[in-house]
């Protein structure tokens, strides 16, 4: 479906000093820096996948998604969608993609929402029957019909995002790109956005590619994660695989009757506060049951619980690399 081969993007930026003297100097000198925003990314995405791009700010995930959707021209490498190069054959390839970019709306601010849809219907040459079909599907998921006559400038952010989602799906694209779609949304708007993504993915087999900082998006939506940092791919796989690979441990929390806590040779005591001690152990080395048995032989245990490595731990580790 999508093939990304050796994708690179460099930016040239001008160096500027601080304050008045810096601004004056920049006027006469030509000091530039090359930033390698994305370096040699390659991956393949199959039809019907939901792929999440995650990474810290400035990691290059937006740049990547913008190259994949034809907005930015790669410095090197190529993006093939359905076997066709998006840079070389933009007008044809973009018929198969839909795009929703966070806080940048494609809706006409001054007019009612329906007018933007009408324009898009003509741009993508959607016949009226298909249009009505899509609209009734979208109405079931998002309740869009009641918004059609509302001027966009009077809409809430959540309503505008709904409008943008529908706008991006009118021509039934095979791939949908979403750049930080849930940013700034309230809980119920996030909920309907996620529901929307899941629905179009399962019903229409739409491939969805999104960037996000929202752990809920990752947990609920993404079959596959691609973690990017400094423009380089750090991890690629589903949440469980990545967890097993980079955070293959659990934490055992033990509460004793007093402040004295014994050590265990196969695990590391990562904290000890009051009556509670936390032990981290590798899943491959030992089971929790063995540790509990061994510890309880040394000292009386009041309570135990087990914590898996959370998604934020994974991200922290992956970003830190």
């Amino acid at each position: 479906m999508i093939d990304v081969n050796g994708l690179c993007k460099d930016y040239t930026i001008k160096k500027k000093g601080a304050g008045l003297s810096g601004a004056l100097k920049a006027l006469v000198t030509k000091n530039t820096d090359v930033i390698h925003a994305v370096r040699d990314l390659s991956f393949h995405i199959d039809e019907g996948e939901i792929v999440g791009f995650i990474g810290p700010n400035g990691a290059g995930k937006s740049t990547t998604i913008k190259m994949m959707s034809g907005i930015l021209t790669p410095t090197k490498g190529s993006v093939l969608i359905n076997g066709e190069d998006i840079t070389k054959n933009r007008k044809e390839v973009v018929k198969n993609i839909g795009v929703v970019f966070g806080q940048r709306s494609q809706l006409n601010w001054d007019l009612r929402l329906g007018e933007t849809f009408e324009l898009l219907r003509h741009i993508y040459r959607i016949d009226l029957k298909d249009y009505e079909n899509t609209m009734s599907v979208m109405d079931d998921i998002l309740g869009i019909k009641e918004l059609l006559d509302k001027p966009v400038r009077q809409m809430s952010l959540g309503q505008r995002v709904k409008g943008d989602l529908v706008a991006s799906m009118l021509h039934s694209p095979k791939v949908l790109f979403l750049d930080e779609p849930t940013i700034g949304l309230d809980v119920s708007a996030k909920y309907s956005l996620r529901k929307f993504i899941k629905e179009i993915n399962s019903v229409r087999k739409t491939t969805v590619i999104l960037t996000t900082h929202d752990l809920g998006d990752i947990q609920e939506l993404c079959d596959r994660l691609i973690i990017i940092n400094h423009g380089v791919m750090m991890e690629d796989g589903n949440l469980k695989e990545i967890t097993d690979r980079i955070a293959p441990y659990k934490t055992l929390v033990v509460e004793y009757y007093d402040e004295d806590a014994p050590e265990h040779e196969k695990c590391e005591m990562i904290s000890h506060e009051g009556n509670v001690a936390r032990y981290r152990f590798a899943k491959s080395d030992i089971t929790a049951a063995d540790i509990i048995a061994s510890l309880s032989s040394k000292k009386a245990i009041k309570d135990v619980s087990i914590e898996e490595a959370g998604i934020d731990d994974i991200i922290k580790i992956a970003y830190g690399k």
Partner: protein, 274 residues
């Protein structure tokens, strides 16, 4: 052939929707209508009065009498108005570059430059057209022009060419923003220069400047050459029917070159928020 006809039909269809939406936007903000209907005609009526005063103070300008100057001025304002309707966005291209507003055009299956100009078509440019037509008709009467069918055809062809030349210049200037990443708007300056070089005969300027305006930045073809041919005034370069067609050819060439420069700039487009 069938395919390109189909493409043309598609673009015309989208254009019709865009124009409809532009009118709806105007209706949304009725307070603006009065403003533009005062502002634009005011500018050209005052500008025209000034030409009259200059002629009264100095006599003929390089052999052109008042009626001929009115004719020149009228046609110049008409092509200016047309360029305002279709191409004025070129002045603000820098903002679109900085704000990342080309993103949405790039993800749609139509030409980027087409979308840029036509989703923002400036219907208010019509308010420039009215004074232009009035002065042009006045100039026709004053300079004793007899508007035959052939004459009108020539005027229409040269107006298309002149509008394209102006549009091409706006695109060239706007496209520099891709390279400089700055939102500067040279519109006022461009118009100031255009006023001096299209509303007066360029034969009044030194030869070096005439050369530039004929061959390098072909503003001379916006009004001076076609109008002098229409009025039968010798301009030393071109005369007769052919001039209107040369103007059209220059306009098309300018558009092609400007389009190529725009596309090369678009490759350097960086969107926003990086």
């Amino acid at each position: 052939m069938g395919k390109s006809f189909d493409t043309l039909r598609h673009y015309l269809d989208v254009t019709a929707v865009n124009i409809k939406m532009a009118f709806m936007t105007i209706v949304e903000y009725p307070a603006n209508i009065a403003g533009w209907f005062i502002s634009n005609p005011l500018q050209f009526i005052m500008g025209f009065a000034i030409i009259k005063f200059v002629v009264e103070s100095f006599g003929k300008i390089n052999g052109w009498n008042y009626g001929q100057l009115a004719f020149l001025y009228g046609l110049s304002v008409i092509s200016h108005a047309l360029s305002m309707i279709f191409f004025v966005q070129g002045w603000f291209m820098g903002w679109f570059v900085i704000e990342g507003d080309f993103d949405r055009y790039l993800t749609r299956p139509l030409g980027v430059l087409y979308q840029f100009f036509f989703t923002n078509i400036n219907i208010f440019g019509i308010t420039d057209l009215i004074p232009g037509i009035i002065v042009f008709i006045y100039g026709c009467v004053k300079s004793g022009v007899n508007p035959s069918f052939l004459f009108i055809i020539q005027v229409i062809i040269m107006l298309i060419g002149a509008t394209l030349i102006r549009g091409g210049i706006y695109i060239f200037i706007g496209s520099t923003s891709f390279h400089t990443r700055s939102a500067v708007d040279f519109g006022q300056y461009t118009q100031e220069i255009m006023d001096k070089t299209t509303m007066y005969p360029i034969s009044m300027y030194p030869e070096s400047m005439q050369f530039i305006l004929t061959y390098l930045i072909p503003i001379g073809w916006v009004s001076f050459y076609p109008v002098s041919s229409l009025l039968g005034i010798d301009n030393g370069i071109s005369s007769g029917m052919i001039t209107a067609f040369i103007t059209l050819a220059v306009g098309i060439l300018m558009m092609l070159l400007a389009g190529a420069y725009f596309n090369s700039g678009l490759k350097k487009y960086e969107s926003a928020g990086n």
